[in-house]
């Protein structure tokens, strides 16, 4: 497999401090490789968005990163820990190296500025020596890239449709040619046709520009279709990670299976829709042991007492995948 571009090591994120802190992300280890689309799935409250905001240090109060590292490997030069950057260092790193497409296209754009202004102020902040003329040219070029005609440059966000606004956000994310693009439910607010159109366009752009993507959604069927690898989160931990088609064919963790059977697949054989009984765990009062065991149809003796470690499973195709489940005890822990 290709070399890594972003490595998350033992990342822990809490809401609040002290005794009342809620552990939203726990001991997450995840590696994004160059050029791949890594899907991150889970129900709401599973910690997938918290993970994305945590690694960029954009989490709003009372979010606190309590430990871990986020190692970034730039195209040239030596690697460094994003969490250890100074404020200015972090500002420089943001958007230039890792850009984000947020879920609310509606509210992601500043309502009082033209979209050209919002595209160009990125350039102003990161490439101060660029002339106004070339800034405008770049902005126009980015809009063209995402299929918006240049005469919309001077439009205000309220004059654009939801789909156009999200395209503007994607164009804005790519304007500095970052190596990593994090997409947090980028198309949830859009209708299904628009969703696929935009995602298809994005994948095509990725092939052309060669950036890596962390794609966060609760819609596993979208991930199966658009990503290379999928990591599934539950209760703040990664419970399974494997290539997309492996997960789709043969998910090992009962939670992954439950998630897969909650969505109709667009392609491939039909399967029965069952969903998962029960509701996502309360982060403040996590069950002991595997946090999924109260809802798990296959829970047995060790599940309620000990937390399973994420590791390579004992299956024949065990290489290249990992799971945290007592049904498939780890041969070789990841991390």
């Amino acid at each position: 497999m290709a070399e890594p571009v972003l490595e998350i090591r033992n990342l822990n994120v809490d809401y609040g401090l002290g005794d009342r802190a809620v552990h939203a992300v726990r001991d997450v280890n995840l590696t994004l490789h160059r050029g791949e689309v890594l899907g991150l799935a889970g129900e709401s409250g599973s910690g997938k968005s918290t993970l994305a905001y945590g690694l960029t240090r954009l989490l709003a109060p009372p979010g606190v990163i309590t430990g871990g590292q986020v190692i970034y490997h730039p195209a040239q030069g030596s690697s460094y820990d994003v969490l250890a950057l100074s404020d200015n260092g972090l500002r420089e790193w943001r958007w230039a190296e890792t850009a984000i497409v947020f879920q609310g296209a509606m509210n992601s754009l500043n309502p009082v500025h033209k979209i050209s202004t919002q595209l160009m102020d990125v350039l102003k902040a990161h490439e101060p020596n660029m002339s106004a003329h070339s800034r405008a040219a770049r902005a126009r070029e980015m809009l063209k890239l995402v299929g918006i005609s240049a005469d919309r440059m001077d439009a205000y966000p309220h004059q654009l449709s939801g789909g156009m606004r999200q395209r503007v956000m994607i164009g804005m994310a790519l304007i500095l040619q970052p190596q990593v693009v994090i997409m947090d439910e980028p198309t949830t607010a859009l209708d299904v046709v628009m969703q696929r159109q935009i995602l298809g366009q994005l994948i095509e752009l990725r092939e052309r520009l060669g950036f890596s993507v962390i794609f966060i959604t609760h819609d596993l069927s979208l991930l199966v279709e658009f990503s290379n690898r999928i990591a599934i989160m539950y209760g703040g931990r990664i419970v399974e990670e494997a290539p997309a088609n492996t997960i789709y064919r043969d998910a090992l963790h009962p939670y992954s299976k439950g998630l897969l059977s909650s969505f109709p697949a667009l392609r491939g054989p039909r399967r029965e829709l069952t969903g998962i009984p029960g509701s996502p765990p309360d982060l403040a009062g996590m069950p002991a042991g595997c946090s999924f065991h109260p809802r798990c149809p296959k829970a047995f003796e060790p599940c309620g007492s000990a937390i399973p470690v994420l590791g390579r499973p004992d299956t024949p195709d065990g290489a290249g995948r990992s799971v945290a489940c007592w049904l498939h005890p780890a041969e070789q822990p990841v991390g």
Binding site: L59, P62, I65, S78, L83, A84, G89, L90, A284
Partner: protein
């Protein structure tokens, strides 16, 4: 006079928050007691209680007849006259005590009238919408932009020797519009919520929905509006009394200031004549404002005091919560000397 600065109107819950999991399921139970535990609100309520008590017992505990003359003309504070005396030898302390009742009476009566009107007009406009809303909103805005104090002056000067009740009615009738606006906006946003839609779909009558679904959810806004109007009404009454519009026989703090101004208290350096009345107004106003801050913070937790933006970790570091830069606490044992834990721009080599 004061600008009503309730933020409630502007904070429409659930707007624009990103889907970051909320962190306070366990805090829900404590919310109920938060209002009283809020130090601002508690302080305000205690001070207000003292004023209410004085309004009730003031005339009985006053050492002198507030209008009774004596030979101690324009005397400074002394053991006999705590706040000194006027040009006629009247005891200012007694005037303040006796005047409290009029101030509180007018303040609360006007506040009640204005609040009732604002609820009737604001909630009706917001809930019914359409033409009713258009005309009621227009009425509200007209009353809002017409300068109230000059209007009150004209109305009350036309009514000879206006009693406290009449003044309270005039103030109440001219000062409901701001709250009506706020309530209309709140009602509009509530009307679109699921639970109201559900009641409507299930065929509940309009007045039942308003009384059982809407009003309980508007309590905080209405309370904050009431408190704001009371401040405004007190200031208005005192303003009117200061320029001589008051009942002929009663005392209030504005009357004291009227005589102080008219009898050249400034020229005689009789500071005791005007300072106590002003401080009494200021303390009452501050107490009421504190109650309102408490309500505001209760309603929109985002405004809650800055105490929580700085937190001490178990290891004793201070961490400042700040939007856009999530604090990083390292679990390493190395001591940190800086408040912000990660502050060195060193780029670490990856292992």
């Amino acid at each position: 006079m004061t600008i009503p600065t309730s933020s409630i109107e502007q904070v429409i819950p659930g707007q624009g928050a990103m889907a970051q999991p909320s962190a306070k399921p366990a805090k829900a139970k404590r919310q109920r007691f938060l209002f009283v535990r809020n130090t601002k609100a508690a302080t305000g309520l205690v001070v207000l209680g003292v004023y209410v008590l004085l309004a009730i017992i003031g005339p009985w505990i006053a050492p002198y007849d507030p209008s009774g003359r004596s030979n101690d003309l324009v005397q400074g504070p002394s053991a006999a006259h705590w706040f000194g005396t006027t040009h006629l030898g009247q005891d200012i302390f007694s005037q303040i005590l006796v005047g409290t009742r009029s101030v509180m009476y007018v303040g609360f009566l006007a506040g009640l009238i204005a609040t009732t009107l604002s609820v009737l007009i604001g909630v009706t406009a917001g809930y019914l919408g359409g033409k009713t809303d258009d005309s009621l909103s227009a009425l509200t805005n007209v009353i809002l932009v017409i300068p109230a104090i000059p209007l009150m002056i004209i109305i009350t000067s036309v009514l000879n020797n206006a009693s406290d009740t009449l003044i309270a009615v005039v103030i109440g009738l001219t000062s409901w519009s701001w709250n009506a606006r706020v309530l209309r906006a709140q009602t509009l946003s509530l009307r679109r919520r699921d639970f109201v839609e559900a009641s409507r779909a299930s065929g509940e009558t309009t007045w039942r929905i308003v009384i059982f679904e809407l009003l309980p959810n508007l309590t905080a806004v209405i309370a904050s509006g009431l408190v704001g109007t009371v401040i405004y009404a007190v200031l208005s009454e005192i303003t009117l009394a200061f320029i001589g519009i008051t009942s002929n026989d009663g005392w209030n703090w504005g009357t004291i200031l009227f005589w102080a101004q008219g009898q050249q208290a400034l020229g005689q350096h009789a500071w005791w004549w005007f300072v106590p009345a002003g401080l009494a107004i200021a303390c009452l106003g501050t107490a009421l404002s504190l109650i309102n801050f408490g309500i505001d913070e209760f309603v929109s937790p985002r405004l809650r005091s800055a105490g929580k933006t700085k937190l001490k970790t178990a290891a004793g570091h201070t961490v400042r919560m700040r939007i856009g830069f999530t604090p990083v606490l390292e679990n390493s044992a190395a001591p940190h000397t800086h408040a912000r834990v990660i502050s060195t721009p060193v780029m670490r080599e990856a292992k």
